[in-house]
Amino acid sequence: MLRRRLNRLFGRDERKVDSRTIYVGHRPCPATEALIPPKFCDNRIVSSKYTVWNFLPKNLFEQFRRIANFYFLIIFLVQVIVDTPTSPVTSGLPLFFVITVTAIKQGYEDWLRHKADNEVNKYLVTVLEDGRRACKESEKIKVGDVVEVVEDETFPCDLILLQSSREDETCFVTTASLDGESNHKTHYTVPDTERNLESLSATIECEQPQPDLYKFVGRMHIYRNNQEPAVRSLGPENLLLKGATLKNTQKIYGVAVYSGMETKMALNYQGKSQKRSAVEKSINAFLLVYLCILVSKALVCTTLKYVWQNRPGQDEPWYNQKTQKEKDANLYLKMFTDFLSFMVLFNFIIPVSMYVTVEMQKFLGSFFISWDKDFFDPEIQEGALVNTSDLNEELGQVEYVFTDKTGTLTQNNMEFIECCIDGFQYKYADSGTELDGFCVTDGPVNILQQKAGREKEELFLRALCLCHTVQVKEATGQGDGVADGVEDQVDGVMGLDGETVGPADLGGFIASSPDEVALVKGAMKYGFKFLGMESKNMRVMNRNNDVETYELLHVLNFDPVRRRMSVIVRTKSGDTMLFCKGADSSIFPRVRQEEVDRIRMHVERNATEGYRTLCVAYKLLSREEYDQADTGLREAKLALQDREEKLMAVYNQVETGMSLIGATAVEDRLQEEAAETMEALQGAGMKVWVLTGDKMETAKSTCYACRLFQRSTELLELTVRTLVDLGRKREERLHELLLDYHKRAVQDAPPIKAGVTRSWSSANQDYGFIIDGATLSLVLNSSPESNSSCYKSLFLQICQNCTTVLCCRMAPLQKAQIVKMVKNCKGSPITLSIGDGANDVSMILEAHVGIGIKGREGRQAVRNSDYAIPKLKHLKKLLLGHGHLYYVRIAHLVQYFFYKNLCFILPQFLYQFFCGYSQQPLYDAAYLTMYNICFTSMPILANSLLEQHICMEVLMDNAALYRDVAKNAMLGWGPFLYWTLLGVYQGLLFFFGVRFLFSNPALQDNGQVFGNWSYGTIVFTVLVFTVTLKLAMDTRHWTWINHFVIWGSLAFYMFFSFFWGGIIWPFLRQQRLYFVFANMLSSVSAWLIIILLILLSLLPEILLLVLRKPRGPHSRQKKPVVQSGVGETQSPRSSARPLLMKTFSDESNTIL
């Protein structure tokens, strides 16, 4: 039957099939009629984007796809084509600069990628070809090649392990560079392949490439002389991934199954979608406004021009006659060119340099995070890591924090606390070092000073020793050059009998989950040592120092859905036993009820104390039962399709009717300063959601410990437990509860809208919400007839009114689902996810900002995060300190840029009314070009990198300050309007101030008159000084750099103007600024008007600055010393006067 299916598979077109067939060593197999070598891609890794040839066109195309660059290109082209007032150089030069710099940067990055690619692709590997060993470049490996890899080499492509130099047909690899897990993982050869690879004739059938690192389904047909082919199942344990490194194994042979860009590593490096910050959206909105301003200015000018020209004598006065060409031109075409000319004249209102400055600010600014020594953790010898610099400011905008529990709130440093065997509680006391070394404490239970039976104890401890996937770390102290170290060490382990210190002494275990290590270590305390695996045998040293061996038959792996794992072992005596450990909820239904009753109390008590509890059960398998399970498992493992589901079904079938032996309690300690951090986040107005896979009781106690739940917090629970109601459907009950909670949390709560005053409202009841995975899926995916959207919105509304939400029993995908739901709800709040494990990756990727913790659970979270920090406590500084500052900086930068260009261009616009709408520029071309590039760019850049309007310590001490900038407060339409009005006011002032001065242009004491360029230069001088001084006024934190660039810019402007006007420039036709600046400075009136206008345009600013001063500045600038309040006569106004604070902070948004 199998054969028939196989043939059917073969008959189909290769491409349509979701599996591929590989001929090992390219040898034709008897089963196939003819060898059609299937086409697979070669083993070249191409991570580079460009080649030498396509770099220029492709890079330019990519760059001009950005809307801003495209806009500037259009402006430039218009300048080239149409007769425009300013030369194409004025906008072409900056654009060229930006494009070139970006191209160089991208080219360099691509060159690095080419180099890295080449290093990988040209690496020499040994391939077995027709019985010979041949050296080949890695890129030439083809699917089906048999490749040899020696110790400490990385695998050149995805290989199926055929042969290992180790006796036990295994090899060890570390996937540190793939997912960061540095433990050694065991991989197995395909059973029954021949030792002689040259004569091996086999095909491998496996699924098409897919990115999941931990999934692989395939099977191998081994053909022996004219026999029915043997079929072996292939799973991830047979697959060696490209990028992983061979360890502790001399050499292996494997057949390439996926190559090049189809390897799992390559597939995984694609598509980390780019996140965009809220600030960027604001910038785009403002841009649109300015674009409208620009277009309307151009329209107004064009219209007025033609209206004005219609008046008699104005169209073509005798002194300014048109050329023949102008006379012949079509009126509408002329209007259109005029419109374009005006666009070009005013286009400086949207400057190229803003993009450059914003990018530079983000790029350079992000260094401060990685430089921060407060983020340095001496334990792991690492500081913070910045994976993207695009989101710096988003750190100051977070409204929702989604945190993982294990490893994030807690240390993921498990310690075995106590266990409960058959209803009796055992607590290990450190003093008890006897063989029988565990004394019994009571428990609040009625059983005192009693023990379970000895057999039960031992059974329980054996279960702990056997039911796991822990490896014993091979000793490293034996010298490095031990080639065949593995065997040696295994021997060494064997020889350890009777020694008091086992190899598995402290820290000698490696496991994917620290719980398992804790359990094994716990068992060790009680006298049962796990000594390690020897081929398929698990070796355990019991209390009497005898070594017991158990043959490991099957491991029923842990998965988060089943929430349990089992092993099937065979004892020396031939009994087959199944040991199972798992969450209480998944074990209890599978054991006898009376056993449950004895243990449940302990489990629940332990859970409320914040321990992680696991229940242990066992089952003696009869021969028939085992055979049935065995065949079931084997069959399921062979399945190509739906293997997971089939395996699950078998697992569920086997893991029934067990008997409960006991339960364990493992403590997971809180991270340092977890509670303080959480309190600070909540004080900063963020809502903390804990998303955990852990059980409710444990998670709840962690929440209490972290002070996320207070004693006064009223908990609203929506879990499976609360949904169980006599004889009622769950959905009805759910509906009822949701409505009830909604009434309590939303409707009855006083109408404070989330955000501003939450923490002052101590009078209000705090609510905490608890939901579990099962209920969540009920809420999200409830049946269509029961209006599911209604549930969802009810649920969201409740959650939004709770200070803390705890979601327990979450699958990784559910975590992401929740983040997505909150992210997309009304007001689209900024979300932040923080986690340390692979199960948090989905939510890290989903949230606006993803933070990885460099924890113990591998590096996947870090790799996928936007920022990575060593410890949870660093989150506080990252958000409240850095985030806040970054936000304020970039917001100020953006507003300032728009403002300074508005007051730059407005006079130019106004001048059109005085030059017959002829697009006469007010400023000289040099000034037009240099304004944004040289005269005003450095001060704002320095300011946006160094500004600390409030110093870091104060920001961290007063979490409430974070609320000042919440909801994108500084980039709202209010502040934008303020800045725009300021720009308009100053622009009007500049222009008309000089206009009235020029009502008599004789401004020198020798009676000579000034012309139009003097006019423009006076306006421009006032402009440069005003916008720079405005920035100086906004600067609260004057470092020497600020001084240098601000005064330096002004000095440079003066110097440049003298220089520009000081000589007759060769190669330039126009010498229109010749001595204009110097002449201007020789006029007292010009000086006076410049001083007057600068002062007058800054006056409203100064006034605002001063008028708000008397009202509580101290809370802003107080030093930490003042904070303590000791001996200070002038105690800081803090929360005592929320009202003043509020008015103050409202204003400050507009100022800064």
């Binding site: 242009p1001 600020n1042 600038q1117």
Partner: protein
């Protein structure tokens, strides 16, 4: 500056810069500084304002429109553009001494020297004496690049072509006889324009440089005859020409024509009757323009300009008023806090 080696070891550098702990001055504009500051600035501004205002008040200006729109005006007869070589008279009397040195300006209104195409219509190479551009003027000069016979126009372009060509003679009527008031035509243009920016071609006589070129169509005489009496005021460095070539910023402008610094009039125009003889050539009525003459003396701040003084007074008093307001606000909010 920013690019420091990121990680030589893993530990971040502990420098003031990387830790954002650079010593910084954190200015606080406290009321104690700002209120006196405002008072001081206000008083200083008021002082300057008063000075400016008084200075401006002391400047005498005599402004006369001579476009000839009103039929009563003597120049009415000349306002017909077809009438060439028309002269008219403008009579006025001074009751006091018009203190000197007196500057004599002409003014035009509704005249857009600031138009872009007009302003660009000149050849600066030509005007700096480069003979190559005498033969092929820049195309921006069009339609005053070549004349109908394809001969290059020098100086080319609308700006030069439309040079103001009314001339004035001022007489004082002393006992019924006209006494010419001497005009000084030097020092009316920017020193740098006269000495550096504009140059005649180094050909003597100057006339030869203009061989093969024609004068601008509106001009009555070629450039090398602008001032035949003084070679240093001839050609492109003729100061009237230079004054004209410096474009005015606004459509209503005045330009310096002559200074009265010599002879009996060095200390000013004495009281009495004067007659200004105008050679009326420049047409302005076609585009609704006006022409005027302005006699003015100047001070250290230039010509008469009330605006600056008033603005200083207003801003100065604004500062003082604001400091008062601030004081009130300060008293109201600050003092309770000290309790």
């Amino acid at each position: 500056m920013m690019k420091e080696e990121l990680e030589t070891t893993n530990r971040p550098d502990n420098t003031a810069f990387t830790q954002q702990r650079l010593p910084a001055w954190q200015p606080m504009l406290s009321a104690g500084i700002v209120i006196p500051g405002f008072v001081l600035i206000g008083l200083a501004f008021i002082g300057i304002g008063v000075g400016l205002f008084i200075t401006s008040q002391n400047i005498t200006v005599l402004e006369k429109d001579y476009t000839g729109v009103e039929t009563t005006s003597d120049c009415y007869k000349c306002s017909n553009p077809s009438d060439k070589n028309c002269t008219c008279k403008l009579e006025f009397s001074l009751s006091n001494l018009f203190e000197g040195p007196v500057f004599f300006y002409y003014g035009l209104s509704n005249y857009f020297q600031s138009q872009r195409s007009y302003g660009a219509s000149k050849d600066e190479y030509q005007l700096s004496g480069d003979l190559d551009y005498f033969k092929t003027p820049v195309s921006a000069c069009s339609p005053y690049q070549y004349d109908a016979n394809q001969k290059p126009i020098v100086p080319c372009g609308s700006l030069a072509n439309s040079m103001f060509n009314d001339t004035f003679k001022l007489y004082q009527i002393v006992n019924g006889t006209k006494k010419l008031v001497p005009f000084d035509g030097k020092g009316i243009a920017w020193w740098t324009d006269y000495n550096i920016k504009y140059r005649n071609p180094s050909v003597t006589p100057l006339k030869n440089a203009f061989n093969g070129t024609v004068k601008p169509s509106f001009w009555s005489k070629p450039a090398y005859e602008l001032d035949t009496s003084d070679p240093s005021n001839n050609g492109f460095v003729n100061q009237d020409f230079l004054v004209w070539m410096r474009r005015a910023a606004l459509p209503d402008f005045r330009k310096l024509y002559r200074r009265i610094t010599e002879g009996d009039y060095a200390s000013g125009l004495p009281a009495g009757n004067y007659s200004l003889e105008i050679a009326y050539n420049y047409p302005v009525l076609s585009f609704g323009g006006r022409k005027k003459v302005v006699f003015s003396n100047v001070s250290w701040m230039g010509g008469k300009n009330q605006f600056l003084g008033i603005a200083y007074l207003v801003v100065g008093s604004l500062c003082v008023v604001m400091s008062m307001v601030m004081l009130i606000v300060y008293a109201k909010f600050k003092f309770p806090e000290d309790d």
